[in-house]
Subunit: 728 residues, 2 copies
């Protein structure tokens, strides 16, 4: 088999006439870039640091015995060793390109030879689990990463090898592996999914290095060479027109690597394909939409099955932001991200960033932005409102897109709030301790399904204690939320509004969240209007998760003698009910987090229940974090929840300073709520009164009458101080 | 009255003949120091920063209207404004001394005049609460701080005032205030307590400025001028011979300010008193023992009623460490502390520190140390073992001193462990949100008495679910723990051992904790032997508080359906029992905190109960933090708890790396436990076996026989690998 493929490869290579013509290295770095890096290392601190780090890694590797273990289980020693090997190969290759020192090329060659020695005798990995198996790794995914890195390394040392040395590697290792991916596992190869992207990228990149345009074409156009699969098709279908990736930012940060590494290899070798302009510059939108879905500290908003801490330091983000900076032009926020990364990649892109980096990296300050979801932008989206600069930025995110396949959560219309450098209204993220062997082998824990995915685990409304789409993924994938409007044109009052009418049968939902930054409040506040419309009486649980310590709670008293689960299913079974309180009055809950107090004020409504909860019930193995939440519960046909989430004051325990520990809000009332319009009034303790009017339908001219006086306004919403309130 | 005191003051001043002779300023800074600061500001970054910060503060004050409000309630606006005023006066005075700019002296003079205008008409503060009242503030304590700062300010502008201007201030303000403290409230003035120190310091300092040696003498020797009260007596009685302060570090950090400000004023004006050499240099020991009771991050160990975050940035620590650096000589760790403080005081001491500060401040790395408690060193003490450097240092603290009066906790023999820059076995600290008005006015919460002070809130053993000394403060003050031995001579195995025989009737307690840093373990580990001896059967609860997430728990399953309090009194009523498990086998609990796993392994013993708990029960107002703990419970007459607290592995969620999530310990056994000796054996998963032998009595030659073989050893303890175990 090896022999046959070699012949085919040779034939194609000869036909395309590229074998002799192609420069090496060419897919990640050129000789010219390597020379410029070599000349400038000491001029740019971050370049020096990145170079030194690679040198340290390889010098250490050179001192130790080179080990090519047999295939092993996921996350185990062998698995990690193979990963370490490909990282070392890549860096050794780049160091050879930059320094010309033969110890580095010899290292790469030796390691490749050792893999070539064993590879032909390996069968499909025995421990693959629902995945398409690799040979070195349990799944082709990891093996494709191996090949991407090995391709860069091989490219760098290509010119040091004799024809027979190359043939040994290509015949025994590269061709068999590329064919394993693209012939034997052609289905996955053609699949429009980020795993497909990895295998395409790896086959295309080794194709370029070996001068095999047929392999390259297979990667770009699919195995049928007609564009029904392959890289371009993935660029066309995996992203919305705004570059948003339906599985969410945690997943795209992993896929950014093959997208950008292969794109750059294409750009360098087939510039005529204008890959960076493809689909109106979709790759730019992809990387920007990914990094704009981070909190101001560079951590990705943990939407869907996602870790709470994944951030812009991830390798995929490093590669893609560096390359985007070179290919799409300078950008202050990419410099800011590079400052957080504190590292650059060792090629022309990293060199460019290092050269442009000022002594102090700028602060990360993205503007407000909305991303449409769905490949045609037809499936709702994600709205992000921001005010302030850098770490002092306040960020409000609303999710109203599609479900996100197997990793999706039943979280439509949820909001996340970030303030003061931390999550204030957080998402639970996934229930998983990644790679922690005693926690179910580091895999998703059962509580990921039973709690983290459920609607109650999110800052949205749960209807009748059931998750959206009844917790059924297929139904959820077939439905989505819809945008209503997004307006960030006025920095003092920004707003995002969306509908979710397909999540609960017979219940229409609309959420409109304002981020207000004006003189009325000490810090930016959120005014949240969540409207539910139904012909039946339903139980509506308006849920907010928070962190920190309760300071005051308007007569809500904690359970003292006994705790029981809040419910039996749909995640409720995992919540200890720590308090329950019935009221007809205004609800206020103040908590302390970090150096600020936060108060949620919810407008009064008859027979409202306020429930406090804490995760951890029905969790025999201590798998859940123990975190607090509040639920405002109403039984009604239609109902409008109105709340203000208000950061206020200052607390510094060590400094023994506390200011404004109490909310500035004296009252919050719903004046009008109809299908057309909602009008709410906020009275502050300083006596000032503000009115917020929202059109539930469209902009235009509106009027309403309260307290015997008519008010006229126009547009989608209106917020103003009421100068002469004549309440009755 | 004012007139009379003025005459007395004038008389004394004339008699002492010092009015004309004394230089101004002289109590905190001299003209020469001010000149040197002025000349060197731009040379030393931290000096520049500290100066700029003072300038910013005063320039802002100059722009705003000067407000001298009427007296107000503690923590309220007026209270805070008076505090702001004294801070501004002091800095404006120093800025005048340094720059000579009249706007600063005018500011001080104006403010002092305005206080002098109102002061004679003020009566005792109406809102004092069990405290001796001030006039501007609700208690003399705050007012004494005011006078200390005003004295420094007055000293700085003294020479700019005419005799009549001075007389106006002294007649109406300084003499009445000094006499209010030292005549009207003479009892508190003479009291051997840190509140007394503040009033002494304030009276003495204003005495120096006004040239009134009688006031100074009153402050130094007490109102009877015979040394039965006053500053020297406080230095003699408030501290142990090692400088340890019985109330603990949280309290001394506040008292450091008057001690050092007054001491330096004495040193400058009456050098013949050799104040810094008094009681064998007790002031040096005081400041060093305070700052050595910090965790490696500069936060004070929260012993007794103490906040969890108070740190070396506190003003008292700033003043005292700066002055100590000048008066007692250079010290790398004081430089490290100054690096954390990122600020120096504006006098010769701050100048000296600023001049000596290297570009990068050194890391804080205190050595292991033991402090005796009691004014004669007779009341037990505090042992601190440390290994490693800087923030990577591991620190183990054992408390075996006196109770600490009204702020004392029933916590004898408790241990605290700090590792990886965080508390791993923490103390709850106080139950209080300082200055947070809606939390009981910022005062101690009821849960401070009912939980935080109780024995179960600490990492020690509770007998029969009752606190030490039955939770009775008077009994506790009359008893204390006793040191057994402390040995930090071998950096690979350090140990502290103490007894507590007066805390539970009929129960003798001995705890011996080793901090071991050798090749046997990945990171430093604690081996803890807690021995209880009684003739009666008691219930012993060996308690460890931790933070972080449980990873594995040797078959302990969490309660799933219902939580109830662990007990009814002595703090147990505040703990939700989250799990209970009975076993005859080894107990292991692994949790994840930060980037490390931690396992506590407890040697097997028949019918052992393992209880997991979480604070928050019987807490209707959400006053308690919700934090986990484990309790290993045995009913026995005498019993030895042996545990290993073992940091291991590495976890980085964002990096998706997990290593060694499981303990390295396979078995832990008690081989021998008698009144004379305890021998335990640790078997690691790598097959290695170690034995630790401890003499419960004294050093010398020992032998024991297990597995049919005799072992001889000598000294207080012995730890070694067992090369040829022949177990049966």
């Amino acid at each position: 088999m090896t022999f046959r493929y070699t012949l085919i490869g040779l034939f194609i290579a000869l036909c395309s006439g590229l074998v002799q013509a192609r420069e090496h290295p060419s897919i990640f770095i050129t000789t010219q870039e390597a020379k410029e890096i070599s000349e400038n290392i000491s001029n740019y601190p971050v370049l020096q640091k990145s170079f030194d780090s690679a040198v340290d890694q390889i010098e250490k590797a050179l001192k130790n015995e080179m080990i090519i273990p047999p295939p092993g289980e996921a996350g185990g020693y062998e698995h990690e060793k193979h990963k370490q090997n490909y990282r070392e190969m890549r860096n050794a290759g780049l160091l050879f390109a930059i320094t010309g020192e033969s110890k580095y090329s010899t290292f790469v060659h030796t390691m490749l030879r050792r893999y070539a020695k064993i590879y032909p005798d390996l069968g499909p990995h025995p421990l693959s689990y629902k995945q398409s198996p690799g040979k070195i790794f349990h799944q082709t995914l990891n093996e494709a990463v191996w090949l991407v890195y090995a391709s860069i390394a091989y490219d760098c040392i290509y010119n040091t090898l004799s024809v027979s040395e190359r043939r040994y590697l290509e015949d025994r290792l590269f061709y068999p592996m590329a064919n394993w991916f693209s012939v034997r596992n052609a289905e996955q190869f053609n699949r429009i999914h980020n795993h497909g992207t990895w295998t395409c990228a790896s086959v295309g990149m080794i194709g370029y290095v070996m001068g095999d345009q047929e392999l390259v074409n297979r990667a770009i156009y699919g195995t049928k060479n007609n564009g029904t699969g392959g890289f371009l098709k993935q660029l066309d279908l995996l992203f919305s027109p705004d570059g948003y990736y339906m599985e969410g930012p945690y997943y795209i940060r992993y896929a950014l690597r093959p997208f950008f590494l292969f794109a750059d290899a294409i750009h360098r070798n087939q510039p005529e394909l204008n890959i960076y302009e493809h689909r109106d510059g979709i790759l730019k939108k992809v990387v920007y939409s990914a990094v704009q879905t981070t909190f101001p500290n560079g951590v990705f908003a943990p939407i869907n099955d996602a870790s709470r801490t994944m951030n812009v330091k991830a390798p995929g983000v490093l590669f893609s932001t560096n390359i985007a900076y070179l290919r799409y032009g300078k950008d202050k926020n990419l410099l800011a991200i590079s400052g957080i990364q504190d590292q650059v990649i060792l090629n022309g892109a990293g060199l460019k960033l290092a050269a442009d980096m000022p002594e102090n990296a700028p602060e990360l300050s993205w503007p407000s932005v909305e991303f449409r979801d769905g490949s045609e932008g037809e499936k709702g989206g994600l709205g992000i409102l921001r005010t302030g600069e850098g770490l002092a930025q306040t960020m409000l995110l609303m999710k109203y897109g599609s479900h996100g396949l197997g990793h999706g959560h039943f979280d439509k219309l949820q909001i996340l709030l970030f303030d003061q450098g931390q999550e204030v209204l957080p998402d639970y993220g996934f229930a998983r301790f990644i790679n922690t062997e005693p926690k179910f082998g580091g895999r998703y824990l059962p509580e990921n399904d039973s709690y983290a995915k459920q609607t109650i685990a999110h800052n949205t409304v749960v209807v009748n204690q059931k998750s959206q789409n009844n917790g059924n993924r297929k139904k959820a994938d077939a439905s989505w939320a819809e945008r209503h409007f997004f307006d960030a044109s006025d920095p003092s009052i920004q707003v995002v509004s969306a509908y979710a009418n397909q999540q609960y049968e017979g219940v229409k939902q609309q959420r409109t969240s304002f981020l207000i930054n004006n003189d009325a409040f000490e810090h930016p506040v959120v005014i949240d209007l969540f409207r539910l419309e139904s012909e039946n009486v339903n139980e509506y649980d308006y849920t907010l998760h928070f962190r920190g310590q309760v300071i005051t709670s308007s007569d809500i008293k904690a359970e003292t003698k006994q705790l029981q689960p809040l419910g039996g299913t749909h995640g409720y079974q995992h919540i200890w009910k720590t308090a329950e309180h019935q009221t007809d009055s205004l609800v206020q809950l103040t908590w302390l987090q970090g150096n600020r107090y936060y108060t949620t004020t919810v407008a009064a409504s008859p027979s409202t229940k306020v429930i406090m909860g804490r995760t951890g019930a029905n969790d025999p193995n201590f798998n859940l974090y123990q975190e607090p939440m509040m639920v405002v519960r109403r039984n009604a046909t239609s109902h409008l929840f109105v709340s203000v989430i208000e950061p206020h004051g200052f607390f510094n325990e060590a400094g023994e300073v506390s200011r404004n520990a109490l909310s500035s809000i004296a009252d919050l009332r719903v004046l009008i709520t109809t299908a057309e319009m909602s009008v709410v009034e906020i009275t502050k303790k300083d006596g000032k009164t503000y009115r917020l009017a929202l059109s539930n339908v469209g902009s235009g001219n509106h009027s309403y009458s309260v307290y015997g006086a008519e008010s006229k306004w126009q547009g989608q919403f209106d917020f103003e101080e009421v100068k002469n309130t004549s309440k009755q």
